[in-house]
């Protein structure tokens, strides 16, 4: 079950979706038991930006039919804070031995997810990650609005290719582009990422979504529930959409694909793999079951 990914060896194909598992907080909550039974073969960080962000005002969560709408707003310590404070705490995690066929525990590889609104910003982020031996791969979150158009950078193949090109020059580490699902032509975007030099693509990110405060629709003064106004839908509700996009993208690029979106059980991970994914990421399901990664990886044995 051990798998090759962009020249890296992973204990099994199950990793986490960015922003859905905080290894440092989880270690504090669950103790050292976590460090030697980490539920993922690689750990993807929350999205890191150049400057620190506090994130959106609450409420940040809305429970939807078979899913979750979040409007977290990418809180993070910023590049410097991440490297100085978080990175040292992100070493020493080992995957749960019960999730590998040999019963061995492997070091958990670190993938750092970064976002910037210009090629230059992304370039600086990637360069800094490149210099850190502890970081195995870099994931680019391109679901970031272009300041001029308001549309996601990642939704426009031309823009996406040029951004990836800029970034590609700054690192020799595996470069994953996390595509936005809110695009007309997701496979076209994947091809653009590949053309720009990406080593892999990951998808799907959350679907743009919204909720109104309960009862507020009735009063005629609709109030948006989420502090951030709108948010992103994740969880089982989006699984059929994720599967379609993963399948379409896998058919169009030669680089490996990381599939995610509503994966809860081994059967869902198998579907993602069958649709062409090399790795499968688990997001919202980890909220319900923090050991979901291990449970799913076990089911693939």
């Amino acid at each position: 079950m051990s798998v090759e990914f962009c020249g890296l060896r992973l204990a099994h194909p199950i990793i986490n979706g960015s922003g859905t598992f905080d290894a440092i907080a989880a270690r504090a909550a669950f103790g050292e038991a976590l460090a030697t039974a980490f539920p993922f073969s690689a750990y993807v960080s929350k999205t890191i930006t150049l400057q620190p962000r506090t994130g959106n005002p609450p409420p940040r969560l809305w429970e939807a039919p078979s899913g979750l709408v979040n409007s977290i707003g990418l809180p993070n310590k910023g590049l410097e804070g991440y490297i100085a404070e978080d990175l040292p705490q992100l070493t020493g995690f080992r995957s749960d031995p019960s999730a590998s066929p040999e019963g061995t525990s492997e070091p958990v590889l670190l993938i750092t997810n970064v976002m910037g609104s210009t090629g230059e910003e992304l370039g600086r982020l990637v360069e800094a990650c490149d210099a850190q031996a502890g970081i195995a791969a870099i994931e680019l979150n391109v679901s970031c609005p272009n300041v001029a158009t308001g549309l996601d950078i990642g939704a426009d193949p031309v823009q996406l290719e040029s951004v990836v090109k800029v970034v590609r020059e700054r690192t020799g580490k595996p470069l994953i582009v996390k595509l936005t699902p809110n695009a007309a032509d997701v496979p076209g975007c994947a091809q653009a990422a590949e053309a720009g030099g990406a080593d892999a693509v990951s998808l799907i990110n959350t679907l743009r979504a919204m909720a109104l405060a309960p009862g507020s629709g009735a009063t005629g003064s609709a109030r948006r529930w989420l502090g951030g106004g709108t948010g992103g839908l994740s969880g089982p509700a989006i699984r059929p959409v994720a599967l379609a996009q993963v399948s379409a993208v896998s058919g169009r690029v030669g680089i490996p694909v990381i599939g995610m979106g509503g994966v809860q059980r081994p059967a869902h991970a198998r579907d993602m793999l069958a649709a062409g994914a090399r790795l499968v990421a688990v997001g919202t399901e980890s909220f319900r079951d923090p050991a979901a990664g291990t449970r799913i990886a076990q089911g693939l044995l």
Binding site: P59, L61, E63, N70, I72, P75, R288, A291
Partner: protein, 272 residues
């Protein structure tokens, strides 16, 4: 009693429901629990193993947070109020059914400074963590006063969860006719050397916070917030921190020093 809990062990576990008793408008759910002993103020994420979902709008999907109201003889007690699809499902569980339990989680209450009296003030279903707190205070022989507020008569039986409580009720059906914070003011007037332990609706907590600030009395507030995970993963459960930024209620709390907050937001309290 310690602020820093022992590691809860990794992952959720199945717990057998051993009982579910009516307590006025509330229910006390009892779950066999061989997990680590919680610190007072800690909580657990609960979800029924069977049929979690299929309520209004196909919810609940995520687990729900509940204060551990009591933990003894291998059983955890939770005080539940039916306010939506998640609590509704848990309220109807019977002995022999199972729940997923993740916990104990979060930072609990810290003991009052040597010699200081503890004032426990709770509103509605928010009295739950004060019950286990009182158990510890009794065990350690710590002087304490209990003030409980309820909306109406059907909720009054909740007071049975604690001992020797002074009661306030919004509708005057028992005790002081008015806010439980009125009782707090009285208590502080008569003897201000105390530490306040509070849990309840946001309005009450904000009242307590403001009173404690004015009286320069330390206060520990057990907050609530919509939670997706309960263990710091989702960054969804935040409240604004004094001086900027946010605190995650699940890992920085749920018990938060009142001095860390400018105010208690409407979303940060228990069902009223």
């Amino acid at each position: 009693m310690s602020a820093k809990p022992p590691g809860a062990g990794f992952g959720r576990r199945r717990g057998l429901v051993t009982g579910n008793d009516e307590l006025g408008a509330y229910r006390v759910l009892r779950v066999a629990d061989d997990g680590p002993a919680p610190a007072p103020g800690q909580f657990a994420m609960l979800a029924s193993v069977e049929r979690w979902g299929a309520g209004e709008d196909e919810r609940p999907h995520l687990a729900r947070a509940f204060s551990i109201a009591r933990h003894r003889d291998g059983e955890a007690h939770y005080l539940l109020e039916d306010v939506g699809p998640g609590t509704r499902r848990l309220c109807e569980l019977g002995a022999g059914e199972e729940v997923w339990v993740l916990g104990p989680l979060g930072k609990g209450f810290t003991a009052p400074d040597q010699g200081l009296r503890a004032i426990l003030i709770g509103g509605g279903v928010g009295i739950a963590p004060l019950a286990i707190l009182q158990d510890t205070l009794i065990a350690s022989g710590t002087e304490h006063t209990v003030l409980l507020g309820f909306r109406d008569a059907p909720r009054l039986p909740g007071a049975e969860l604690l001992r020797d409580a002074r009661i306030a009720s919004d509708d005057g059906s028992a005790g002081h006719h008015g806010l439980v914070t009125d009782l707090l003011l009285e208590e502080l007037d008569s003897d201000p050397s105390a530490t306040i332990y509070a849990c309840g609706p946001a309005g009450m907590l904000e009242g307590v916070r403001a009173i404690a600030e004015r009286a320069e009395v330390p206060a520990q507030l057990a907050l609530e917030a919509g939670m997706a995970c309960g263990f710091g993963a989702c960054y969804g459960c935040v409240v604004p921190r004094r001086g900027g930024g946010y605190l995650r209620v699940c890992v920085d709390g749920p018990v938060i020093d009142a001095a860390e907050l400018d105010h208690v937001e409407a979303h940060a309290g228990a069902p009223a």
